[in-house]
Every structure is written in structure tokens, then in C-alpha cells.
């Protein structure tokens, strides 16, 4: 969704040609359309549920504990009688909030590090890239755990932890693109006319990286949803009573819930997988759409 919003404004500007064609290619991609078909209703439901769903995510009803799906509680209720559907929607809201904010932060860090590495000279470049290498040595989940142990639980720490983890790959892609761009005539010309670093980065660098950023953002949102769910599943991300898809799955670590009340964890699990799959379809569609060669096939 964010990705589409990000394409629209430039498409309306003077650079209409290639971006409009990319948009057309994207619309023609069947898998990407299927992705949008899932993601848009999920987004709408998650953002508007408090207007049309009668139950609040944290409303306790002791007369309806651990009830299965029924006409009133569509997806059943949990151990203290909270409505699972309401928690599922609130959980989706939190999961998407965490994912989108952390991706926004990591895009800023990733772009700046990549840009500074490519324009900042050999020493800066080498230092930044070795740092990136180092950040990529450890398996991401391990790094996530180390950072989580410092940051603690809650929404803001989780956003911070995930965004700190995800920028290195982006900064590499940005660096590679900008290194190539640096040698192009129009950039050399701008430099010759005395353009400063910020002019070079934001007038020339940023518009030429927009495809990388959009594709990265989309795929990384899916990834961030999984990271958040994983952390919360281990009890280190979003802390109860706030709902998230991960900490709803965490309930299933209790044998009783796992065995006897499967609706309490299977629905959030399904929501997680479908949303992530759909966002990945959209991301793949965007990647193909931005690749001009895909017209040739």
C-alpha cells in the first residue's frame, strides 16, 4: 500500500514516462493483483474495525471464557473472555504499525549510510561497508535478541530493534547504485558546477534510487511483520495486554491453549501468513515492474 502511494506523486510529475509504464506493468501482474486483493481489505479492516466491530480488544467478559467460534464471537474468545476477532484486528494494527514505522526508519538509515559510503571517499566507504559486513555476520534473529535484551519490550523498543536490524542490506544496494551514478555525466556536470553533497544526494541520488527503495520497503514490511511476530512470540516484542499477531501466537506455548483452544492461535497464524505472502507478491510485482527488461519477455 505504502509502495503504491509512493509511486503515485512522481508519476503525476514530469518524469511520467517510465514510472507510468512501471505502474502499468505492475497492474498487469496477476500475482501482484492477488496480493493487493488480500492486503487492501486487511488494511481497511484493521484500520476501521473500532467503528463496526462491537467488541474491544481488551474488553474482558468472564462469562465467555475460552468459547469457540460462534455467531457473536466470530473467532471465539480467549482465556479471560476477550474477543479473538477484535484482538486479531488490533494485533494486525500493531503489527503493521511496527512494520511500517521500522521500515521507514531503516530506509532513512540505509539510504544515508549507502549514500555517504558512495560519495564520502574511500576510507568512509571501507569503514561503512565493513560495519555492514559485521552486522550481517550474525544470524538476524540472534542480533534481534541481543538488541531486544537492551531495548526491552513494548511498541517503541520493538520498532527501534527491527529498524536497527534491517538497514545494512539496503545501504549496500543504495551504495552500488550511487557508485554507478557518481560517474554519470549529469552528476559529474553538477559537481563541476559546484553542487554540494546534499544537492547531489537528494536531487540526483534519491530520485535514481526510488525503485530500490520502493521494492525494498515493500518486501521489508513483510519481513518486519515476521520479525515482530517472532520477537513477540518469544515474549520479547510487544508485551501483553497489547495485542499483536506474534503475542497471540505466544498463547499457544501453553499446552492447554495449544491443544484445546486452537482458534486462539490458528487465526492469528493464518492472518500472519496470508498478509506476509500477499505483501511478498506485491513486492515481487513491483520489482518486475521497475525492471524495464521485463517488457521484453
Amino acid at each position: 500500500m505504502m509502495a503504491v502511494a509512493a509511486i503515485d506523486p512522481p508519476a503525476a510529475r514530469s518524469t511520467k514516462g517510465p514510472l507510468r509504464r512501471a505502474l502499468d506493468r505492475f497492474i498487469e501482474n496477476r500475482a501482484a493483483r492477488a496480493g493487493l486483493f488480500i492486503v487492501i481489505p486487511v488494511l481497511v479492516a484493521v484500520m476501521t474495525y473500532h467503528w463496526w466491530w462491537p467488541y474491544a480488544p481488551n474488553a474482558i467478559d468472564l462469562k465467555a471464557m475460552n468459547k469457540g467460534p460462534s455467531a457473536t464471537h466470530w473467532l471465539g474468545s480467549d482465556g479471560v473472555g476477550r474477543d479473538v476477532f477484535a484482538r486479531l484486528l488490533q494485533g494486525g494494527r500493531i503489527s503493521l504499525l511496527v512494520a511500517v514505522s521500522s521500515v521507514a526508519i531503516s530506509i532513512v538509515i540505509g539510504f544515508l549510510v549507502g549514500a555517504i559510503a558512495s560519495f564520502g571517499g574511500r576510507v568512509v566507504d571501507a569503514t561503512a561497508m565493513r560495519l555492514v559486513d559485521l552486522a550481517m555476520t550474525l544470524p538476524p534473529v540472534i542480533f534481534l535478541l541481543v538488541l531486544a535484551s537492551i531495548a526491552g519490550t513494548g511498541i517503541a523498543p520493538t520498532i527501534l530493534v527491527i529498524s536497527l536490524l534491517s538497514w545494512p542490506i539496503l545501504s549496500r544496494m543504495v551504495r552500488a547504485r550511487l557508485l554507478e551514478l557518481r560517474e554519470r555525466d549529469f552528476v559529474v556536470a553538477a559537481r563541476g558546477m559546484g553542487a554540494g553533497l546534499s544537492h547531489l544526494l537528494f536531487r540526483h541520488g534519491l530520485p535514481n534510487c526510488i525503485d530500490i527503495l520502493v521494492v525494498y520497503a515493500t518486501l521489508q514490511i513483510a519481513n518486519a511483520i515476521l520479525l515482530e511476530a517472532g520477537l513477540s512470540f518469544l515474549g520479547l516484542g510487544i508485551a501483553p495486554p497489547e495485542a499483536s499477531w506474534g503475542n497471540m501466537l505466544n498463547l499457544a506455548r501453553s499446552t492447554v491453549v495449544l491443544e484445546q483452544y486452537p482458534w486462539q492461535w490458528m487465526f492469528p497464524g493464518a492472518a500472519l501468513v496470508f498478509t506476509v505472502l500477499a505483501i511478498n507478491f506485491i513486492g515481487d510485482g513491483l520489482r518486475d515492474a521497475f525492471d524495464p527488461r521485463s517488457d521484453l519477455n
Partner: protein, 319 residues
């Protein structure tokens, strides 16, 4: 070849030192007093005692000096004490967890390699037949589902509903140690761990084999009258395996991530469970020790992968 080995090991060592520095800095940024790692929480201490200890441990020194002090101790195997388990040293705590994790991951990866390579070869040979399409769809699902969800679903279906496997732990409580008992506990988590990797290996194997099968020397082999089975197995698969070896090496890191979730769902007494519990209780010395050991393992596996690759593909050594 020797200089390649030496060079690769040297970079690996450097990476490890840099990693230890990074983690040291990160954990010093953490809230809380680092001196907690050195005192036994069940013994009360006065403020002046604490100051003496702080002085003796060098915690009042500047950070670089502290790092070298820590590194010196760590090199002689002293990672300090666990904060949560009073009086327990970190190193043995971490060491006793390596075995179970290695067992789980080794079994998981072995299953993934066998299944993935076999399925990949089959898919490539019978391209676009229905089993190929079915396996492609399955592998897509396998790659996209997170480890904690497959772990929960596997536990639910195979342990709870079908009762085919025990629901957790590494051995039956109270029973004497037996290999079959451990195997019975191992097989379900190992299979679940292998799903994502088998799917990934299958896709790489399929793509790589399809590319190789189009090459001239394969056509030559067929023209010479080599039976199709041997063309695929001996002539094509050997070369097609090259990119898959690199993939297997790089999935070990991901497998550690997956193992953490499987260990905590199945209560498997490995590194992952240790690390998750340590993070949950902010037991920084244990986090530090466990992370470093995992980091060292990942670096070692990467080196071994590179060496294996150089061994099977002579072009790498020359470059």
C-alpha cells in the same frame, strides 16, 4: 590452496574479534550495572564492598581497557558468571548446550539436503509435470511460513492430534538415556526445521540443474549413448550442486534462527533456548557468551563453505 586457507581463516578471526567488540559495546549500552555479572545475587554486599570489587574488576576504567580485560579473560575461557543462576559459570553453561543444538540442526539440515536435492532433481527432470508444479507450490509455502508457526502446527498435528511423537524435551523424564528415546524426541523438530531449507534447496537445485541440462557437454554425453539416468546423476548433478553448496553454507545461519524457535516450542535444551531465556531475564554475561559462540560457529561454517567450494571448483582458488 594453502594461502587461500590462511587468508580465509585470518579474515574469519578478524570478524570474530570485531563481533566481540560490537557485542561488548552494545551490552555496555544496556541499562543496568555491569557489576551484576560478577556478584552472587544471593549474598548481600555493602556499598563499600561493591566499590572494592568494582575497583578490582576494573569496571571504573575507561571502556577500551575494560574491553581488553574482558577479551583477555574470555580467551582463557572465563566469561564470568550468570546473573540469574547464582554461582554458575557462563562457559560450561554455553558449552553443554552446543551438543543438543548441533544435533537438532545437523539432523534438520541433513533431512533438508536429502529431500531438497532429490526433489529438485526430480522437478528439473520432470519439468512442468504436475508433481513439479505441486512441489513448487509447496516450496513457496515452505519458504514463506515462519519457523514458529510451522513448529506450532507440527506440534499440534503430530504430537497432540496424531500422538506420533513426544511433545517436547530431549529425553523422557526419569527414563534412562537411550539413543532411540532421543531420536524419537528429535525427529519431529528436526523435520519441522528442515521444511524451509528443503524448500529453498529444492528451488536452487531445480534452477541450477535446468541450466546445466542445457549445456553442450550434457548433449555430448547423451549423443555418446550414456543412459539418461547417468546423464542426470553423474554428468549434470555434479556441476549443478556447486551453487547449492554455497546456499547450504549460507542457510546454516538462518537455520540457527529457526532452531531458536523450534527449541523454545519443543523445549529442546539447546543454545537457542538458553539465549531466549537469558534475553528474557537480561542475563547479559550469558547473552554475550552464547552470542559469541554462535557467531564463531557461523563464521567457521562460512569458512568451511568457502573451502568446500574452492575444493570442488578450482577456478575459485586461482582468483
Amino acid at each position: 590452496m594453502l594461502s587461500f586457507v590462511v587468508r580465509r581463516c585470518a579474515t574469519g578471526l578478524l570478524m570474530l574479534v570485531a563481533l566481540s567488540l560490537l557485542i561488548f559495546i552494545l551490552l555496555r549500552l544496556a541499562p543496568g550495572d555491569p557489576i551484576d555479572a560478577y556478584i552472587n545475587p544471593s549474598v548481600p554486599m555493602s556499598v563499600s564492598d561493591l566499590e572494592t570489587l568494582r575497583d578490582r574488576l576494573g569496571l571504573d576504567q575507561p571502556l577500551p581497557l575494560q574491553y581488553f580485560g574482558w577479551l583477555h579473560a574470555a580467551l582463557s575461557g572465563d566469561f564470568g558468571y550468570s546473573i540469574q543462576r547464582s554461582g554458575v559459570r557462563v562457559l560450561p553453561l554455553v558449552m553443554e548446550r552446543i551438543g543438543p543444538t548441533a544435533l537438532l540442526m545437523g539432523m534438520g539440515l541433513a533431512i533438508a539436503i536429502v529431500v531438497g536435492v532429490a526433489a529438485g532433481i526430480y522437478s528439473a527432470v520432470r519439468r512442468n509435470a504436475w508433481p513439479d508444479i505441486a512441489m513448487s507450490v509447496l516450496s513457496f509455502i515452505g519458504i514463506s511460513s515462519p519457523a514458529f508457526l510451522t513448529a506450532l502446527l507440527g506440534l499440534y498435528f503430530f504430537s497432540v492430534l496424531l500422538r506420533w511423537a513426544p511433545s517436547g524435551g530431549m529425553q523422557t523424564a526419569g527414563a534412562p538415556f537411550s539413543v532411540t528415546d532421543v531420536l524419537a524426541h528429535l525427529i519431529l523438530p528436526a523435520c519441522l526445521l528442515s521444511i524451509g531449507h528443503a524448500a529453498l534447496i529444492m528451488r536452487y537445485m531445480r534452477a541450477s540443474l535446468l541450466e546445466v541440462l542445457n549445456q553442450d557437454y550434457v548433449r555430448t554425453a547423451r549423443a555418446k549413448g550414456v543412459p539418461e539416468f547417468w546423464v542426470v546423476i553423474k554428468h549434470a548433478t555434479r556441476n549443478a550442486l556447486l551453487p547449492v553448496i554455497t546456499l547450504i553454507g549460507s542457510t546454516v545461519g538462518i537455520a540457527i534462527g529457526g532452531a531458536i524457535f523450534l527449541e523454545s516450542v519443543f523445549n529442546w535444551p539447546g543454545m537457542g533456548l538458553l539465549l531466549v531465556n537469558a534475553v528474557g531475564t537480561r542475563d547479559y554475561p550469558v547473552i554475550m557468551g552464547a552470542t559469541l559462540v554462535i557467531g564463531a560457529c557461523v563464521i567457521l561454517v562460512n569458512i568451511l563453505t568457502d573451502l568446500a567450494y574452492a575444493f570442488v571448483d578450482p577456478r575459485i582458488r586461482v582468483a
